[in-house]
Amino acid sequence: MADTRDIELTVNGESHAANVETRTSLGDFLRHGLDLTGTHMGCEHGVCGACTVLVDGEAVRSCLMLAVQANGHDVTTVEGLAEDDGTLGALQAAFWKHHGLQCGFCTPGMLTSLTAFLRDNPDPSERDVREAISGNICRCTGYQGIVDAALDAAKTMQQGS
């Protein structure tokens, strides 16, 4: 019989209760348990970074964390990054402006990773940004649009604050 647990967690400000199989990854739970399909599973071994989400504000691989481990924690996914009225956040807007995405599959992981990174590093160099996203693989863009977007967003956010 499958080993399951009841968990409660907050996702994008909404609290959820669910019964999960303990072997289910946080990523699979978000996608198929809560239908938050913005989080993408790219490699399921923790290298590609597409599944990155924020747990209590810190960027983590949702393929390397069990859903049961998120019990009692606060999770933010790409669906939670826009403003409350639905307008794009500064980072999302910069991605749009600088053509920081093509197929869009790695994008959620890029956005969540950079959201945490820019919070902790408000004035990064290009080198800093490139190292920050070295744990997020993009096959389409060659990264340049993403790097430009991050640097531009950092400026915008600083002016904003």
Binding site: S25, V68, Q69, E131, S134, G135
Partner: protein, 288 residues
Amino acid sequence: MKPAPFTYHDPTTADEAVALLATHEDAKILAGGQSLMPMLNMRFVVPDHVIDLNRIDGIAGIRDGGDSIEIGAMTRQRDLMGDDVIAAKAPIIPAALHWVGHFQTRNRGTIGGSLCHLDPAAELPCLMALYDAELTVQGPEGERKVPFAEWPLAYMLPSIGPDELLTGVSVPRWGGNTGHGFVEFARRHGDFAIVAAAALLTVDGGKITRAAISIGGADVRPIRLTEAETALVGAAPDADAFKAAAEIARGIEAMSDAYVTSAYRQRLAATLVERALSAAASNLNGSA
């Protein structure tokens, strides 16, 4: 790529965890999960029980022990990087952690998990070898201390029983006019090093009074370059001395795999040991 079924346990004390280990055959300990989870997802590792340490209090955290730094096994790599005590007393640790995976994995990855997984190319085991740190292991009969030199039995095989738990690490502080150097060669940022070299040098009156060199990735476990360390003591911290040490590094036993030969690893060891020593000589700080 979904894990095979297992029974999940999340003890809240170390004793509880040890008791679970004692009562369950074929159990795996889940610390940060950055190494175990991929192996579970790929079904390389198919345990009947997973024992999650993340809800245990008291085995995480960093404490200044005066002549040592006391680190709980469940301390996240991220916290090691950001800690003031470590930055002041063992700056090589944050310097090396910069090379460990990516910031997303360092947010979860723990020092204990890395030392128990014991990947030959991992940075933290290489550093613990450098310091000859002392590990605290808790078992049914209580605690025992293990010097790091006796920790790796073999390839990814630490000297820990199936019913034992690594709870902490004690890193001795190097006083005096000490410098540090950590360099590694990996194909890409965050990859496992093909070879990594770490060095500590204490210099007094223009002469090296104490030296430690460890090499990761070259062998099935970290190597201490004791012969070179001995040779360095009493010498001036200059290029000739470091070249000599590099030649000794070239002679280490090294492994081959699908990607590179032992000869290349030996060549890298020589290059990187020389660079690590030069780096150490260039940041002697009078304290640390």
